[in-house]
Symmetry: C2
């Protein structure tokens, strides 16, 4: 089916362009039969707006695709905003794609690059565990930003990798909880795939306990629920509710995202317990919501705006041939708040 | 500057395509000088990935642009997800654009439609108060979704309009607060422009008080702070903090977004007061965060997924000539929770 311009529609219907315009715009000043004829023609052929008529110079903007896994996590909203601003400044368009938890982001990316104008891809969230051959098919430069572990053989690939050191940051948080006197510390992590953010944070958890002479109790290691969407309040709530029902012995929990940590707090309160007096709760990310929650959430702040800006600037430098792919690790910051340390109110 | 394909780069440098590929992909198996030459050539001319070589059939996807005002509000995340899924199903691309609070969304839209492939625009959030002439320049069909009041003369325009009745929903909430015995009710609204969501909710507030024989006290009508980004926790926190410092007499407040209502709760707690015993707090939107907050936030739930799905389906029906522009008003739902009614915990 070939689409028609407004002039084509006018010609076929034997009317003027302004009449077609009136029909499209639902203007009252048009004969109903003529209107019908115009709309039928458009229905039959499809229609592309006629722009030259209004002297609007139209262009084919190149675009950067952004693929987000775990879209309900507000961490990505602030990253997307930074990335979009830079893309706009470069007169590119940003094509946003969300990847569902059960979708393969590389398959989604392969669909996306079929689009001629996509010049680069930025992956946010999720994790990467794909064979090189599949990744090479992507054809355009891509950057993994805040994505679990680097793919193997990253040096040979058309790919950059920007993130915090999830194992190290997790180690920091567990050390904080141990410093506060906790010995029975649970963890709510995600997907045991060894490339995932969750797995790397679990490594940090195990290492911190080991270094402090505390035995790991596998019953206190919990995965996100597969029944709810990942990285949601609901998921944190449900996993915590189940853990509380089992009557396990623990006095603190590290939840690998603030959103889920807040859901976990709500489950603790609903069970008639207090945060942090009965159970201390620590999150990860450093989103604004956690800082207004009651109690404020202790967290590892990821420098997401800085990671986002570095990511998109690097993308354009690569496209302009000024730079090659690289890896960069950013430093997180431990923010101690009310959910692990009871503070007296002012 | 004309961009080169991988074949052009190979020809100019007098090397094979695979050598160029190795240079781009940072492969170790390449002579450093050759690599330098390749990268210099790319730097000079720019480079477009050579796709035909890998039998990837590339297309020019048409796109729908989504313009979001007030992006930090999670209401829009769920709407965007629904809209994107439908756009993808139709083999279009979604181009996302955030509009800053101080930007004119129609100016942003005019920039966006310069892009040839944009076939329609969806506006989310903000409000519309633009002369018809400017809107007509948009050329492509557009839909205002969850956007304040309809533009004037909407019948003659190439535009649809889908939203809740903000005045009526606000009236519902104020009636709930009055039913709970409150007579001194404050409101935190936004931008006094008569087309805005905030203004229409203020109308509902005034009408509900009047209908219940309660005099309006203008000192209890507060606007969002211009110092912080709109619709943020921070903004709700700051405005509430100032209101509490003034020592005004009020026992309840209606805040026109859940995010800001939660910020306001935090300010009340930080001032050593309780929610709802000292001050009842009501929000608007019905986002998940509010349902896990401590206390859970009383709110008006907007059927955002339904509005989003109706919006994008309507867009494609209009593009396919099956339908004309229309207006549709959706019903909100009052959700009474702990922030206005103290509930005993289980």
């Amino acid at each position: 089916m070939e689409e028609l311009t407004i002039k084509d529609v006018a010609r076929i219907c034997g009317v003027g362009v302004s009449t077609v315009s009136r029909a499209i715009n639902n203007h009252p000043d048009i004969n109903p039969e003529t209107k019908q004829k115009v709309m039928d023609t458009i229905r039959e052929h499809g229609y592309i707006p006629n722009n030259s008529a209004r002297n609007l110079k139209r262009i084919d903007a190149k675009s950067i695709a952004v693929l987000v896994k775990g879209m309900t996590n507000p961490v990505f909203s602030s990253m997307i905003k930074v990335i979009e601003a830079e893309i706009k400044r470069k007169k590119y368009a940003m094509v946003l794609n969300h990847v569902n938890q059960n979708e393969d982001e590389v398959d989604v990316a392969l669909e996306v690059v079929k689009e001629k104008r996509v010049r680069g891809i930025i992956f946010l969230g999720g994790y990467f565990n794909h064979d090189e051959e599949k990744l090479e098919k992507l054809q355009v430069p891509f950057i993994l930003s805040t994505v679990g572990a680097a793919p193997e053989n990253v040096d040979n690939m058309q790919c950059s990798f920007l993130t915090v050191d999830d194992e190290k940051e997790s180690y920091k948080m567990i050390s904080h909880l141990i410093d506060r006197g906790h010995k029975r510390i649970a963890i709510l992590c995600v997907e045991m795939d060894e490339k995932s953010v969750g797995y790397r944070r679990l490594l940090g958890y195990r290492k911190a306990l080991r270094d402090h002479g505390i035995a790991v109790d596998e019953r206190l290691i919990r995965e996100m629920s597969g029944k709810q969407e990942a990285y949601t309040y609901e998921n944190g709530y449900e996993v915590m509710r189940e853990l509380l029902q089992e009557d396990q012995d623990f006095t603190a929990i590290f939840v690998i995202s603030d959103i889920m940590a807040m859901g976990a707090c709500r489950a603790i309160i609903d069970a008639g317990k207090r945060v942090p007096e009965d159970i201390a709760v620590a999150g990860f990310d450093g989103i604004a919501a956690g800082d207004y929650f009651i109690p404020r959430i202790t967290t590892i702040r990821q420098p997401v705006e800085e990671i986002a800006l570095t990511t998109i600037k690097l993308m354009f430098e690569i496209l302009e041939g000024e730079r090659k792919h690289m890896q960069q690790v950013f430093e997180g910051e431990l923010m101690v708040k009310e959910s692990t340390v009871k503070l007296s109110l002012p």
